[in-house]
Symmetry: C2
């Protein structure tokens, strides 16, 4: 149980985290700050936060847990601005989708305070950003990857693990580099491919007409293309080399399909589709295993 | 109201059509045939069909409506096998995802009987094929494209329109060529891209580990990759030139993203993502407008 959450960034991810902590009875008070005062005010009106802070630093004052839910490129400046109120007892986390850049920014910004910081990436989201879409159940059942540095204090790491478990998440720990390599493959490149899909069609003479005919398959395929431009600009840029590397792998796979089509090689085509179909089916057979192990020692109220 | 549906192919699409017609009270009896006797038997046990036919031809005998729900490449041979029982009063439709090849096969196979055939493409589906996933509501709210030939009888075309409207669909008519060009863009290429995504990852040393971390975004993006290999081999092959054409457009769009990333041009990246995000949001703002216009004159029982 925490006394006070200092929330920096009251959007979808931050707002949902505050609501989830409140719902689980894990925090007494939430002090929030957003760059846009309108957002902070709306968050308070919605009951997402209890108190509006006029700055990131003041959101941290008196907190025993701090969550940064800002675009990844803003991590360094934000950490720097709150640094001198970070205590060795405080748990500080982010929710960024890239981790090598976040860890690097934290090293530079935090110095001696680095031990309190546990870089976190909860694998969840919605295509609609903003506090008005905040949802107490957004994190339930989600995977959460923690990428502690060699300086992260074990007490903080353990506390972070228990917290996410208590929110119904499946917690994994890995290096920032391994994280970024994996997410270039299963998240960042797919977003880029979905963005490119929209461009490819809207750039055509009859593109608008084509889109009128799009069905549920296209709808699911392009759901991630509706993501926030600012956030995704930062993510793709932060994991630039990982994404470019995955793009090379992808081009090769695409080329194999194109060659089979050009050669009218129906048998090769079928074999390749069978392989893809089986891999996709296998990938999502076992549901994520959320839930609260008895040993977690934290209450869950739903 | 039809007396008897002759259903050729009792899988997901055919089975769901039979169930939908029954639910809407639009048919008295369904006689079904599938290439696999096991499938036909299961369809009867499930109440999807009432009578098992030992051949496609015998499924057509006595029917006033016939639905072909077979892989598109099997359309020509199937139509040929039932040709001499097709009457000028009968409504014959397919549900294939490509139309130029289907119309060409119908011209060759049907000759004088071509007038009874209304090529149809309902834009719906599930990633799970087979009669066990048949669903009376699969077509509800779906778009249906009809691609009549110049020889299609207006009575049959009108009857087909009323029928799909009565099932809660939104009906559009266009040429087979326009259909195939549009669906290369919004369905066939996206499937190919999703198949390639699975190949790209599983082909990598740590691909299996990466897939363990896949979240809801990847799940939606690759849902269509779980499609049936036989059916999609046929579709991609049948609309080969359309798909290859769309692939060229797509490569250009992808290249623009890659160039922006390589140049670390965050501003260009953000503009491109904003455009994609807005196009995706606009594409699916208005829900499909299902429902039964008063003028349709057919009963709807749900």
């Amino acid at each position: 149980m925490f006394e006070q959450l200092g929330l920096i960034g009251c959007g979808l991810m931050g707002g949902s985290f505050a609501l989830a902590l409140k719902k689980a009875g894990l925090v007494k008070r939430v002090v929030g700050y957003s760059k846009s005062p309108t957002t902070t005010e709306r968050a308070r009106q919605m009951g997402v936060i209890d108190v509006e802070a006029p700055s990131a630093l003041l959101a941290v004052a008196g907190a025993d847990i701090v969550l940064l839910a800002v675009p990844v490129a803003a991590t360094g400046a934000t950490l720097k601005s709150i640094k001198h109120l970070i205590t060795p007892q405080m748990l500080v986390m982010d929710v960024g989708s890239t981790k090598a850049d976040v860890v690097q920014a934290a090293r530079t910004a935090l110095g001696q305070q680095l031990g309190s910081f546990v870089p976190a990436h909860p694998i969840t989201g919605k295509e609609l950003a903003g506090v008005e879409h905040a949802d107490a159940n957004l994190y339930r059942g989600a995977k959460v990857v923690l990428t502690p540095t060699e300086r992260t204090l074990t007490a903080q790491l353990h506390s972070a693990q228990l917290l996410w478990l208590a929110l119904g998440c499946e917690v994994t720990t890995m290096s920032p580099q391994a994280h970024d390599a994996a997410f270039a493959a299963v998240s960042h490149l797919p977003h880029l491919l979905a963005f490119a899909m929209m461009h490819s069609i809207t750039g055509q003479l009859h593109g608008e007409d084509y889109l009128q005919l799009a069905g549920p398959g296209f709808k699911d395929f392009t759901r991630i293309a509706a993501a926030d431009a600012h956030i995704w600009r930062d993510i793709l840029h932060a994991n630039r080399s990982g994404v470019l590397d995955q793009l090379q792998h992808y081009r090769q796979a695409l080329q194999a399909f194109e060659s089979a089509l050009q050669a009218s090689d129906a048998s090769a085509l079928e074999t390749m589709i069978e392989h893809a179909s089986a891999a996709r089916a296998q990938c999502f057979t076992a549901p994520a295993a959320p839930g609260l192990p008895a040993s977690a020692g934290l209450p869950s109220h739903d």
